[in-house]
């Protein structure tokens, strides 16, 4: 059977690939949405933090012989801690100002971090092998699925759903959401709001770093990997609705699929299609698919 000249089998394969790429978009845009939703900061350093996650795992492996699985645990904590330092020393001074200042600060930081890494490590990237437990793949009949990609999709689904659950369904999440509505009131209840915000930023950055560790074996560990990704991820967040947790997860996966299908039917447009979708969505729903108009 064929659809538009492509066999259904090939189409299944492409859909799956789209979902896998979408899982990176979802994880990254989730971190952005959490940070924007709770801190009102448009975190442009997110791409650089994703890149630092990949570099951190490379560094752990080559300098200390610490493999992928430990890197998965250590890296988000290390990079998240670094994020918290940035939040305490710099971002905390900007909360009362317009969004634009936060954006400029984080954008500048991203340029500096990427420049430093490029200067030190060059632009062609460093090798990072797939962990031996996950090398090879299985033949699904319609495609050869590398085990590692299967792992990526499962892991990112778990991470995304867990984050959504914590923020939308637990008491801690309720505090966080309340603090964004009225920080003074929540503080009056005896909750340390500034500390909560710092931890939230650290968590968002940790998510980016985790995505970076997971990306390292697939892509080259490259100082520019975040710069290429961040623009797309921003489009995902805007389409999903700024600050909407579920919105960014669903749009992340959805746009991965849209992009994947474009790579089959009109590959030349595959790096533009997401922006076309963004324009259309913004024309009809300026707050994004899942966003609430204020």
């Amino acid at each position: 059977m064929e659809i538009f000249g492509i066999s259904t089998q090939a189409l299944f394969g492409q859909l799956l690939i789209g979902l896998i790429n979408g899982s990176f978009y979802a994880m990254l845009s989730l971190g952005l949405a959490v940070i924007f939703g709770l801190l009102n900061i448009i975190n442009f350093t997110h791409g650089a933090q994703y890149m630092m996650g990949a570099f951190c795992s490379w560094f752990l492996l080559t300098k200390f012989g610490i493999g992928y699985w430990w890197a998965l645990a250590i890296t988000p904590i290390a990079i998240g801690a670094l994020g918290m330092v940035i939040e305490r020393t710099m971002l905390a001074r900007l909360y009362k100002l317009d969004h634009l200042y936060g954006l400029l600060l984080t954008f500048g930081l991203a340029l500096i971090i990427q420049g430093l890494f490029r200067n030190e490590f060059g632009s062609s990237g460093l090798p990072y092998q797939i962990p031996s437990e996950l090398s090879g793949g299985v033949n699904l009949g319609f495609m050869f699925l590398p085990k590692y990609r299967a792992w990526v999709i499962v892991a990112s689904l778990i991470v995304c759903l867990a984050t959504w659950f914590v923020i939308e369904r637990t008491k801690l999440g309720a505090y966080l959401r309340a603090a964004t509505e009225n920080a003074a009131l929540v503080q009056a209840m005896g909750i340390n709001v500034p500390r909560m915000i710092t931890l939230t930023y650290g968590f968002g950055v940790g998510l980016a770093a985790l995505a970076g560790v997971m990306a390292a074996p697939i892509y080259q560990v490259n100082p520019l990997m975040g710069a290429d990704m961040i623009i797309v991820v921003f489009a995902v967040v805007v389409i999903g609705g700024m600050g909407s947790i579920l919105g960014s997860i669903l749009t992340g996966f959805g746009l991965g699929v849209v992009e994947g299908l474009t790579k089959v039917f009109y590959p030349e447009a595959s790096n533009t299609v997401i922006f076309v979708v963004m324009v259309i969505v913004l024309l009809f729903k300026p707050a994004g698919l899942f966003g609430r108009e204020q």
């Binding site: 090939a10 492409q14 062609s124 520019l224």
Partner: protein
């Protein structure tokens, strides 16, 4: 009185300084070399800052400054955007008095600068860009294409692959001038040798994930997947092809343009066995080894790619011509360069054709197994040398208007 005395001293100083320089016709007493390259994106390691290092080494080795000439090397980042590259080139020629632009990886940018250089009567020495159109339809009396081109790559890697049985091809092509030219030239070689092209897909420049394209290549059942891309695009496609079990499944990859820095980035476990065509390898002889050692000390330990070597060799020959003519007039210098046989430590003896094509041998090399490599940057085994007269497209086939 005081002012008169001062002016006299001034005049005397000016005369004394002037006496030291010989440039009757060198514009503003300065030969200014502009390295226009990729300083921030996927071609940075294979060209980038290394090309600036190579140009400076050539100025030093030419000894021209000891003979009274002043030479300055400046550089800029074209960001892989033809519009950015064009405005830098115009600014350099019109305002900054740059006499020659060198390197310029990215064929899109190079073709734009090629036209501007011709309009302004300056000189353009291409090392990083690949499109064979630079000495074909777009050839110019002001441009020399130094190091390699898409025809040479197609003929080298493509020809060798078809002859060893890889007769059905699927192209994964970078969607801009370079990729299109490389695909076109390789397809011609494949067809000429009795092969067949069963499909192609054009991926945007700087794509991160190639799995979707690789799946299409897999489905095509072609014996060879031809990678008509470069830099980060090539390393990502090779890495992901290994992940999707393409080579294990019986298909082979033909990396049509792979640089030494790409192999370094991939690591030998992933890159071993690849067949690549280059015109320079640092471990060819004592002179190339000495150059590589000096170069890597100046470029963060990176060993020179053929692009770096080409910049060095081109600038060296350019300065010889400037000195012979005592002029830095672009059109005249390029004509002089074409008339003079080339000779340098990296490419040996060679010539430059009327269409601007620099002629030298090419090497078909195989990437070593990890066990065969003696250390970092020891990556290639030379499988065959393609003689200079066969390495590049015959003059008559290029459709260059300068060829009568």
């Amino acid at each position: 009185m005081k002012t008169l005395k001062r002016s006299l001293i001034g005049l005397a100083v000016a005369a004394a300084l002037g006496a030291g320089s010989v440039q009757a016709q060198v514009s503003d007493n300065l030969v200014k070399i502009g390295v226009l390259t990729d300083m921030s994106s996927l071609y940075t390691d294979l060209a980038g800052a290394g090309s600036v290092v190579a140009a400076k080494m050539a100025v030093e080795d030419s000894g021209i400054e000891k003979r009274g000439y002043k030479v300055e090397v400046i550089s800029a980042d074209h960001q892989n955007k033809p519009d950015v590259g064009s405005s830098i080139a115009r600014q350099w020629y019109d305002v900054d008095k740059v006499d020659v632009i060198v390197d310029t990886p990215n064929s899109g940018v190079a073709l734009a600068v090629n036209q501007i250089t011709k309009d302004k009567g300056k000189a353009f020495l291409v090392s990083g860009a690949a499109s064979s159109d630079l000495t074909g339809k777009a050839c110019s009396p002001n441009t020399i294409h130094w190091t390699y081109d898409t025809w040479m790559l197609a003929n080298g890697t493509g020809g060798a692959t078809v002859k060893s049985g890889g007769d059905t091809w699927f192209f994964l092509t970078a969607d801009y001038a370079f990729g299109h030219a490389l695909e076109r030239d390789t397809e011609a070689v494949v067809l000429k040798n009795g092969g067949k092209v069963v499909g192609k897909v054009r991926a945007p420049l700087n794509t991160q994930d190639f799995s979707s394209f690789l799946l299409q290549a897999q489905a095509s059942k072609a014996k060879i997947i031809g990678l008509a891309n470069a830099g980060g695009d090539t390393t990502n496609s090779i890495k992901q092809a290994a992940e999707f079990g393409i080579v294990k499944g019986g298909q082979n990859l033909a990396g049509l343009l792979v640089f030494l820095t790409d192999i370094h980035s991939l690591g030998l476990p992933t890159a071993q066995g690849l067949i690549v065509t280059n015109t320079f390898y640092w471990d060819l002889n004592d002179q190339t080894r000495a150059f590589a050692k000096r170069f890597s000390a100046l470029d963060k330990g990176i060993y020179p790619t053929m692009v770096h070597a080409g910049v060095y060799s081109a600038v060296l020959h350019y300065l010889k011509a400037v000195e012979a003519l005592k002029s830095d007039d672009g059109t005249k210098v390029i004509a002089k360069m074409k008339d003079t046989p080339t000779d340098d430590p990296l490419f040996g003896k060679g010539t430059i054709r009327v269409d601007g094509r620099k002629i030298h041998p090419a090497y078909l090399v195989e990437v070593k197994k990890p066990s065969e490599s003696k250390g970092p940057w020891d990556y290639y085994k030379i499988r065959a040398t393609i003689p200079a007269d066969q390495a590049f497209r015959p003059l008559k086939d290029g459709e260059c208007p300068l060829v009568k």
